[in-house]
Chain length 356, copies 2
């Protein structure tokens, strides 16, 4: 059920009076760097995100010297609606950046968060987003240590956009990258595909699947740590976000100049996701995930890695779906149940805009 | 002169055909994580920003181990128009984050950049922004090593928003922060105030001052390095962006529980900026700067710091404008030419929305 007064439709409903008259909505002055900006930081951001580094409110966060090499990444989040079954833009903004760090084998250490808010966004909605972000960061053990907020006029945004950046520490002994896939390697996916994208679509389209479809948004650094403990030779890790598993597999095939053969029947897709995809004419392989990864590991280690994944809460559905091969460099090929195969092309663009 | 076909009004003019039919404008698919996203990266971002780290296009950039503590910061940029006399959103996005790092005495090392583009933005406009960003990063010696791009529908953005994050290395012997100001300390500003804000306003309002007003956008890390070479005991550094010098001075007074006395006549303001401010009823002390800093230094070192600033291209106009005092904790007081004084309050919000 979609309630028009729900946080999913925060802005369009009404108008917001002058900031002097009301503290209920975001006003342009909240982005002005003056007293209202400070109020927003002190009333909304610090109570949720607060930690000794952020609380100093310096121009930059000063952090202890990390050990070894750094991983550094950024992601912008523009998902619409802001809230969906299983998550919100807040969880995505935390998990997405943590996952980018985890995919190069880094231990995520610190996050920054920058908000572009639309004038008229109810403060209550912002608080909900910020609280979910804070909970996600706390659960993942990665503090938000720096931030910024800007406000744009009504009709120049869509409630709330969030950009996070993250710093991680890279284990010097690891060497993970899409170019490292080799013929014979095993291809593993960590669980059912397409849940995030279809959960967001279910809200947008008012599908009956809404109650059963849930985003898979989750921080994958714990799962990656378990995999790396089982096998230091993991060759490739990629989270299958925009463009879905199809984009990731194609990227690996191209970077490694190998082909990737995937058994279509082995690909895990939940029944509700498959049904929703069929109804909307979408391919679950092209739908975004926010808590699933594709791994390429040496064949001798595949069982050990799968075993480690199965013992982790986020890897219970992990399966080996295919292999890397020489020849047909750069192509991804799906083996069909009929003994034939077809090329899985790189998608032109996400089938579903603003999915993350 | 404002030309309606200029890059300052990139989106509203016309419509953009389907991406298959044209490569001239940003389409939703450019943000989809598929082939068009990759084309955008390869055709626009890599040629401009390219460096060995970014070129790897990993989920995260892997960087060498830094020496000592880290500084980490982020800033969102939503300036309107995108281009203005003396700069663009591209320079602001690079300089703003570099300056935040420099203000805690850090040596800026790496930047990330995330773009939220509005459907219909001409690719030529994006290229111009990206080229200016790349030039600013190159001139400052701070590479852009990670990035992301999202696209939102027409009417859900305003051409281009950019969020940058930055990592710097902090000299372990420095201790700089607004709480460190002490009674007797000298207050220095690095040059004329209000130029950035009035340059942007001149374009918005079509003022005749347009030809003479220029944004002061500049990276301040070189100036800070020169100041720190002259005096390791610099107590506070703050760039006077949103909220202008008034916001920064109030923040320092509050954090240090001192008062700050400023000689109104000593405050440097260019004649054209003063005239434009008078015409629009604005106070130059409250107008944003993008290349000016406020420094608090021990009184014995003030002359030496000023001397070092005057020898740097960005500190030629540096002047001592006042002193820190005990009593009236948290207040900023302006000494007027008439021998009286008045309180300079913290601004409620920026007088000029979307100035950075």
């Amino acid at each position: 059920m979609i309630d028009p007064s729900s946080p999913a439709s925060p802005v369009r409903a009404g108008s917001c009076p002058l900031p002097q008259e009301s503290r209920d909505c975001i006003a342009l002055s909240h982005g002005g760097g003056g007293r209202l900006s400070r109020d927003l930081v002190e009333d909304v951001f610090l109570p949720a995100f607060g930690n000794p580094t952020l609380d100093r409110l310096g121009d930059a966060a000063v952090l202890p010297a990390p050990s070894g090499r750094l991983a550094f990444t950024t992601d912008a989040f523009v998902v619409q609606p802001l809230f969906f079954p299983g998550g919100s833009i807040g969880e995505l903004a935390v998990h997405g950046t943590i996952n980018d760090l985890a995919m190069c084998g880094a231990r995520p250490r610190w996050l920054s968060a920058a908000f572009v808010l639309e004038e008229g966004l109810p403060l209550a909605t912002l608080r909900q987003i910020v609280d979910r972000m804070a909970a996600a960061a706390r659960d993942a053990g990665v503090p938000i240590v720096a931030g910024d907020t800007k406000v744009v006029e009504r009709g120049r945004g869509d409630g709330c956009y969030i950009t996070t950046a993250g710093i991680g520490e890279v284990d010097p002994q690891l060497s993970i990258g899409p170019e490292r896939a080799q013929p014979g390697d095993a291809v593993i996916v960590s669980g059912p595909l397409g849940n995030h994208g279809m959960a967001v679509m279910s809200v947008r389209q008012g599908l009956a699947f809404e109650s059963t479809l849930q985003s898979d948004t989750a921080p994958l650094h714990g799962l990656v740590a378990a995999m790396l403990e089982a096998c230091r030779e993991v060759r490739v890790l990629r989270d299958a976000t925009r463009g879905g598993a199809a984009a990731v597999l194609n990227e690996i095939a191209q970077a490694s100049r190998c082909s990737i053969w995937v058994d279509e029947q082995a690909l895990p897709v939940d029944a509700h996701v498959r049904a929703a995809c069929e109804m909307l004419g979408l391919d679950p392989l092209l739908v975004a995930n926010e808590g699933k990864l594709v791994a390429i590991v040496p064949p001798a280690d595949a069982d050990q890695v799968l075993h480690a994944m199965h013992r982790h809460p986020l890897g219970g559905g992990a399966v080996r779906v295919g292999d890397v091969a020489a020849g047909r460099a750069g192509k991804v090929l799906l083996r069909t149940p009929y003994g034939t195969h077809r090329i899985l092309p790189i998608p032109l663009g996400e089938q579903l805009p603003r999915i993350c």
